[in-house]
């Protein structure tokens, strides 16, 4: 009886994570079109968004932008990038901020604001759905499920 419950719980978790993974398929990381960076590795993207190292390989300082918690893309992005829940990411930032090490990227409300930020900052970097990436930005990393 109990075993059965645990099994269905695990199954539910698997299904849940599958559906989340599917939704991440469309998200891409974009940089300013004039940046000169053409492609990035997963670790390079993680380093920038988690404040570990905020510089592109060509020397341009990275200026990442994030979305507000309520935006569904935020959860999908971090789940696809590091397999982490948004609350894990927030806990990580509370450690960085309250130990004075690094500030979290500024947060905007919509994907359009992400594109505006990225195109108006030389080192701008953000994430949007693939279909929304236009000529102002360049896709440098695709989140694989």
């Amino acid at each position: 009886m109990r075993k059965h419950f645990i099994r269905s719980l695990l199954l539910a978790c698997c299904l849940l994570s599958l559906s989340v993974a599917e939704a991440t398929a469309e998200l891409v990381v974009v940089v300013n079109a004039r940046n000169g960076v053409a492609v990035m590795t997963r670790n390079e993207v993680i380093n920038i968004f988690f404040g570990r190292y905020r510089q592109f390989f060509n020397g341009v300082e990275a200026q990442p932008v994030d979305l507000v918690d309520g935006h569904p893309d935020r959860g999908h992005f971090y789940y696809g990038l590091v397999g982490k829940d948004v609350s894990d990411v927030n806990a990580y930032w509370s450690r960085q901020v309250f130990s004075g090490r690094a500030q979290a990227p500024p947060r905007v409300n919509t994907s359009e604001e992400v594109l505006k930020w990225v195109s108006s900052h030389p080192g701008g970097i953000g994430f949007v759905e693939l279909g929304k990436a236009d000529a102002r930005v360049r896709v440098v990393y695709e989140l694989n499920p």
């Binding site: 719980l9 978790c13 849940l16 590795t41 670790n43 390079e44 380093n47 570990r52 190292y53 905020r54 510089q55 390989f57 300082e61 990275a62 918690d69 590091v82 397999g83 982490k84 829940d85 609350s87 894990d88 927030n90 806990a91 990580y92 509370s94 450690r95 901020v97 309250f98 130990s99 004075g100 500030q103």
Partner: protein
């Protein structure tokens, strides 16, 4: 209207909090504008803890004069912190953090735990000067931010003995990429602050010089760190007060105080740590070794392992920690040794702790935790505790619940 009610709240609370609340209010208003360079954040924990023993009092670390026994107690883990960050320009930032918690003098008097200027001339280099949190062990500088870690409190066997929270000084860190991995080194120097309770007296840390550094290697989901620090104490433990209260003759007091002197002795802290943080998994392994220069402290080695696995909103975790300290030899003075043995026994620790708990991220920026600590040690293991009685046998269970928040 809003500011009126906040002001009257501030008046109620009084003291330094008033300034911070006004700042918070100001921040709320400034924050509404788009070009805000001032950000205000806070963190806190409401915690309750009880043990299964009346023979010792359980404390979070040695900065606390009294602790919890077999009744629910909120003072051990509860804490409130506020932080203001002011960005003056892209390279320069000013940060002030104030914290209120149960401290050495049995009050919750707020203290300025951080107040510094941070200058980042390049993405690689970061320089800070002012009052800084000490980071001589991995994560030691975020010990007070419960929301940022998995268990209710940092594993005690590793952190109990470190009541040093801040220095007035400077640090420099350099971050360099190695392929798509990251290497980070940091050095710091400063003068310590604060007091540590000792019986009814206090040991002054002010004026004690601390110097240290560490090297981090971030390899994908792994973060590995080696660190070293030392502190040169400026004051003796309050042995004179202790012995004077017992009406011992002055020459004996002087001899004992000299023999157990902490002033001008140096303690060395070595540590190795590894963190694995990927997907639902969080793993930590830490080892430390402390070499004490003064006869009054025992040198020790300690460590812990902690593993958590997230399932939906809940992350169950399990851990194991330990501490061993080495008893010091006698002075070989037949008159003083019996007295010295009693005083030196206070710094002995030999115990293991099994940790079992769960963190529930039930709402945005809020976490509930419940934890059991099974402490199993020698009856002589009394350094980690307060108010130990003769009946202490070295074993007890500790139950904790806490709610952590950040804003």
């Amino acid at each position: 209207m809003r500011s009126d009610s906040l002001n009257s709240l501030a008046r109620l609370i009084g003291g330094k909090w008033r300034v911070l609340l006004v700042l918070l209010l100001l921040g709320g208003q400034v924050g509404a504008e788009e070009t805000s360079n001032l950000s205000l954040n806070g963190f806190g924990t409401l915690g309750a803890v009880r043990t299964t023993s009346r023979d010792v009092e359980f404390v979070r670390d040695l900065s606390q004069p009294r602790g919890a026994v077999d009744r629910w107690d909120a003072k051990v883990d509860s804490i409130l912190g506020l932080q203001a960050n002011w960005r003056l320009n892209p390279e320069l930032e000013a940060v002030v953090q104030a914290v209120s918690r149960y401290r050495y003098d049995k009050t919750y008097t707020p203290e300025i735990s951080w107040a510094y200027l941070k200058y980042d001339p390049t993405p690689q280099l970061s320089l800070r000067a002012g009052r800084l949190g000490t980071e001589f062990f991995m994560m030691a500088d975020s010990r007070q931010v419960g929301y940022s870690y998995l268990p209710v409190r940092p594993p005690g066997d590793f952190f109990w003995y470190l009541p040093f929270y801040s220095i007035n000084g400077a640090d420099a860190s350099l971050t360099l990429p190695v392929g798509d991995n990251v290497v980070r080194g940091k050095v710091y120097y400063g003068i310590s602050e604060g007091k540590i309770p000792y019986g009814q007296w206090q040991w002054k840390l002010d004026g004690s010089a601390m110097v240290g550094g560490y090297l981090d290697y971030q390899l994908g989901a792994w973060l590995v760190r080696a660190s070293y620090a030392n502190i040169r104490f400026n004051h003796n433990m309050p042995i004179v007060d202790l012995l004077t209260a017992r009406s011992l003759p002055t020459p004996i007091i002087r001899q004992v105080d000299d023999y157990l002197a902490a002033a001008n002795t140096r303690s060395h802290y070595y540590s190795l740590g590894a963190i694995y943080d990927s997907g639902p998994w969080q793993l930590q392994l830490m080892l430390n070794k402390i070499t004490q220069g003064s006869e009054i402290f025992e040198s020790s080695s300690a460590g812990y392992v902690l593993a958590g696995y997230r399932i939906g909103q809940v992350t169950p975790y399990v851990g194991f920690s330990w501490i061993r300290s080495e008893k010091r030899g006698p002075m070989n003075n037949p008159v003083l040794d019996p007295l010295l043995d009693v005083i030196k026994a206070e710094s002995h620790a030999n115990q293991n702790t099994t940790i079992l708990g769960a963190r529930w991220d039930f709402a945005r920026n809020l976490a509930l935790k419940a934890q059991w600590d099974g402490i199993r040690g020698e009856p002589a293991s009394i350094f980690p505790f307060r108010e130990e009685q003769d009946a202490w046998r070295g074993k007890m269970d500790v139950f904790s619940i806490s709610m952590d928040f950040v804003f």
